[in-house]
Symmetry: C3
Subunit: 113 residues, 3 copies
């Protein structure tokens, strides 16, 4: 039995319109992120207007939150990779410090982190 | 193309019964909060009993989480504004430090923050 | 009217397959955790493969996130209690520092915390 490992990582919470979910997930995949979780059917209000998540027949207006944990040196490049997207589309990214308890589910932090 | 900006802010996660969603959102609006995200259909257990989110025919018992990011000097007044509510109703607020990457979606932090 | 209290606590976000929701909640209950919130119908991708939350007819593959706030000295024992589970099952735990505003909904921190 392996012991649980705690790693200091950056948690990204990326909130976008549901129709752009695959774009974000593809970007994470290409950045080498091996795990993420999706929260569906969010509502939100931002400077681009209100978005109501419960209108299931109008799914394009539903927001999703993509949660992932990445080594600190990967957070910056991912945020930069999202810049052109956020210049055109509604959304926001929350970044915070977390410990991740895992069994090899996330990319290893670089040595020294 | 604008560059993404990182701002240090306070993330508030406000969990209340769904029927009080509008009360909280109105309070945030009046406090000058320009963006928030709603997670619907949560279940929870607190000291006031258990609440099961999947009973969609009993929507009053469903919990919601209202996520927002505010400048640090706005967090205290919002929490104080919620005090009378939490004296009467079930719920909890989690406050944490985050960086927000955005394009003018959230209120500007006051100078010096 | 009671004043709101702020407590420094550890937030745990435990993401597991929906069929193990009760196992985790039972473990939290036995650890003395008095409050938690469940986010249902998550999707995710981890090293064990992809899990798509919107296939409601295949509910066993849906993920849930159990959010709780615990005193710091309780976080370690809970994570250790989850170790055998995570040796066998997909999932992850995010741990972060938060302030909790509450009215006696969560277990009191031990003196000196």
């Amino acid at each position: 039995m392996k012991a649980l490992k705690q790693s200091q990582m950056k948690k990204l919470e990326i909130i976008v319109q549901g129709e752009y979910q695959e774009f974000v997930v593809d970007l994470l995949d290409r950045a080498g992120v091996s795990g993420w979780t999706l929260v569906h059917n969010l509502s939100g209000k931002g400077s681009h207007g209100s978005h109501e998540g419960h209108l299931m027949f109008n799914a394009d207006d539903v927001l999703v939150m993509i949660i992932t944990a990445v080594p600190e040196d990967l957070a910056g490049p991912i945020l930069e990779g999202l810049t052109p997207f956020f210049n055109k589309h509604m959304g926001v990214v929350f970044t915070s410090d977390i410990s991740v308890t895992r069994l090899g589910k996330f990319q290893q932090p670089a040595p020294g982190q």
